[in-house]
Amino acid sequence: MTQNKLQIPGRIQPAPENFLSETDNTRARQARRGFMGKALAMGAGMSATQVIANRAQAAAKGEDAILKLPPHTTGLGQPVAARGYGLPSKWERSLIRRESPGLTRVSASSVSFCPLQGTFGIITPNGLHFERHHQGWWDIDPSQHRLMVHGLVKEARVFTMDDLLRMPATSGIHFIECGANTGMEWATVAVPTVQYSHGMLSCCEFTGVKLSTLLDMCGAQTGKDRFVLAEGADGSSMTRTINMENAMDDVMVAWAMNGEMLRPENGYPLRLVVPGVQGVSWVKYLRRIEVGDQPFYTKDEVLHYVDMMPDGIHRQFTSIQEVKSVITSPSGGQLLLDKGYQNITGLAWSGRGKIKRVDVSVDGGRNWRTARLQAPVLSKALTRFNIDWVWDGGPAILQARAVDETGHVQPKINQLRAVRGTRSIYHNNAIQSWKVVESGEVSNVQVY
């Protein structure tokens, strides 16, 4: 290591100030000045050059973080199973699910957003999976939970959780996105960070049994003009009509996420997983599957999750989450710490299949370069992308644009508005713009 590098141990010299409060910092600085003052007074003969030389010598020795061994290197740590269920480091407690102030008035009928600015890869940790409850969440006794399949079936059946966990299981990594994700931004910029603009988005490995297997066991009619109703066991008893094509393809009756049982906030002990389709169809606390010969016109397909078009007509049964991407870092509300190299990273996804390509612009959409897609690239799952960028310290506008394997290209917000106007709430898959200014602060803007 050269001495030159040693003098620049970190981009913003993280220790020791990083471990102190602002008040402590001030006190530390005053103490340091006091010491320096005394030292200078005592060594009246010492020239300024010598002081600088001494400091350089101290810096040449290296950083305290290395030279002074900390307690965790010189002491005894925590025992095994100190926490029966592991928790994130205390240093990570800023990255949590959060509500958007003023969005809803009752927290039992609300949403909490996933902190996308801080997650890595494509899998969402279970404790950070976004929440949407219509009438509060429950922690249901799994031994008393039942799933009923009935309607246009040869034999209506009841399954216990014992029954379901005996079934041939399957797992799939899929994204779930609320149909209203980015809904606050239809008309103008509204929220500061990617957590609030895109955080009704998560991606897990779900494990369960294919719905088609259960339908088959019950002798269900699954042809043209047949529809599935899914219903929850909670107070809201959420209902949605599920397309039979999806039901017979990759829809799953799932009990697990990321290797453990579903979290109560995400439907413990059983939920529907409808890959590619908006989250409202992924009915939690699933108790009932009914096969019928027409859509069911439930509250959440008549009054909500409908697209308000410019002529005042509501468009119904728009369910697929279209191709979309967002840069998660650098993103709104963040500070860049230095000029030079930045790894622009983000997520891309499509309800129609795999992501084929992600292009990134740093000049507000004038010129684009193709980003590296990080493995794995899976159908109806989040895909992580990265691209190199050397920030020259000047203003920049960062955008990402995804293309899926069916050839659909993520649109700009004005392209969406030209068709759907500005009064819609749902299905906004527009290109997101983040503006970087000379101070390094990044903010949410709309540029098209």
């Binding site: 240093w91 407690r93 008035r105 079934m167 500061p192 509501h314 728009t318 010129n367 993520q410 101070s439």
Partner: protein, 388 residues
């Protein structure tokens, strides 16, 4: 055509194979299920079980129970069970979006709500959007009242729906709504023609209505059209405390004005810490610092637990959080206001039992006649203990 498809369904084939093997002497019974050996898992649902859960009402009124209810009966139910959240005229925006408002006699004739087109009306009420009367009946029946879903009888659902339709000017005050006349009511809904299906985003092989373009170089771009106003920069709290303290970036310190130079930003970023982390012992869960945990750890945990169970039983927790405001104030807020007031306990027990309004805002608290004095005191003293 349907019959043939049905006959050829796999389960029928399996059953047929099973029957054939039985006729052949049953020597080979197991093979019928060997391709899907899990096929017998589960059991048949009884007709009573199906009846208990099959509550959905379709647009063709399949599943609608017979019954009836008047506007006047609906008015009584409304005052008791609905008004506290939805307002006297179902127009309230305090808790949920408004149910009624924005529809006209002309809309009832055309079946299209003009206010949805004009965009000048400030809200989109439920009656403005509603295109199927079955949807409203089904939803009230399955999910209302909010804190006691599925507690209304079919007649009560008809009544309260009739009352809403009356508030919307769709039916007269002497109207009696029933399964006999629901089809006529459907034909009076102001927005019955205001919905259309779009298959492009229903089928996975469909085509969406909006496409981006693939331009890579010198693409046409307009100017910046919208940005986050400065006053909204900290509307979601201090962003510095919503990001990691390591890595290429930090969260902006939104409790301070914006910096103008990179040097200033570096200076500020250097001081960002995780609140409380340095002083927390290793392994301390974040939940330990929450007021709920603190209050439960105090003097009499049994009494606290019992009181909390009661609050759950009497549905208090549907509108009051321990430390967060829901429909009503949080228990901690109530405790802070009343803890040092003489006679607070008796006052609050009375309010629990008889209801109250105007103390904490526009949403009234409904009376809870089922709470007796002993239970009321237990709950109120539990709440008041949260002051510290």
């Amino acid at each position: 055509m349907k019959a043939i498809k049905y006959f050829l369904s796999p389960s029928i084939l399996r059953t047929t194979a099973l029957l054939l093997s039985l006729i052949a002497g049953g020597s080979n019974m197991a093979t019928a299920a060997t391709d899907k050996p899990w096929s017998n898992i589960g059991r048949a649902a009884t007709s009573d079980e199906i009846k208990a859960w099959d509550i959905d009402v379709r647009a063709d009124f399949t599943g609608l129970p017979a019954g009836s209810g008047s506007v006047s009966d609906g008015n009584d139910i409304w005052e008791e069970k609905c008004e506290s959240c939805h307002g006297v005229f179902a127009e309230s925006t305090h808790v949920f979006t408004p149910l009624v408002g924005g529809t006209t006699d002309e809309d009832i004739k055309t079946g299209r709500v003009a206010n949805l087109n004009s965009g000048t009306y400030p809200h989109r009420s439920t009656l403005m959007k509603l295109s199927k009367i079955s949807t409203l009946w089904d939803y009230i029946n399955r999910a209302m009242p909010w804190n006691a879903p599925k507690s209304l009888s079919p007649d009560e659902v008809y009544a309260v729906t009739a009352f809403m339709l009356h508030l919307g000017g769709i039916v007269d005050e002497d109207f009696v709504f029933s399964n006999e006349n629901i089809a006529q009511v459907q034909e009076m809904l102001p927005n019955r023609n205001g919905m259309k299906k779009f298959d492009g985003m229903w089928h996975v092989n469909g085509t969406p209505d909006v496409q981006g373009d693939n331009c890579m170089k010198d693409c046409p771009v307009e100017t910046e059209r919208s940005s986050l106003p400065d006053y909204a920069r900290d509307a979601h709290g201090n962003l510095a405390e919503q990001s990691r303290i390591i890595g290429a970036t930090r969260g902006a310190v939104t409790i301070r004005p914006k910096t103008t130079t990179l040097a200033q930003t570096q200076q500020i970023a250097r001081q960002i810490t995780v609140p409380g982390a340095a002083s927390a012992t290793d392994g301390q869960a974040e939940a330990d610092t929450k007021p709920e945990a603190k209050s439960e750890a105090k003097a009499d945990p049994d009494a606290d637990a019992q009181a909390k169970a009661m609050a759950q039983k009497f549905n208090c927790l549907a509108c009051h959080g321990i430390d967060t405001k829901l429909v009503g104030p949080s228990f901690v807020e109530i405790a802070k206001r009343y803890a040092k007031q003489n006679g607070a306990e008796a006052l609050l027990v009375g309010r629990v039992q008889q209801g109250a309004s105007g103390t904490w805002g526009p949403v009234p608290m409904p009376p809870n006649a089922a709470v007796n004095d002993v239970d009321g005191k237990a709950m109120v003293s539990w709440i008041l203990r949260m002051a510290k």
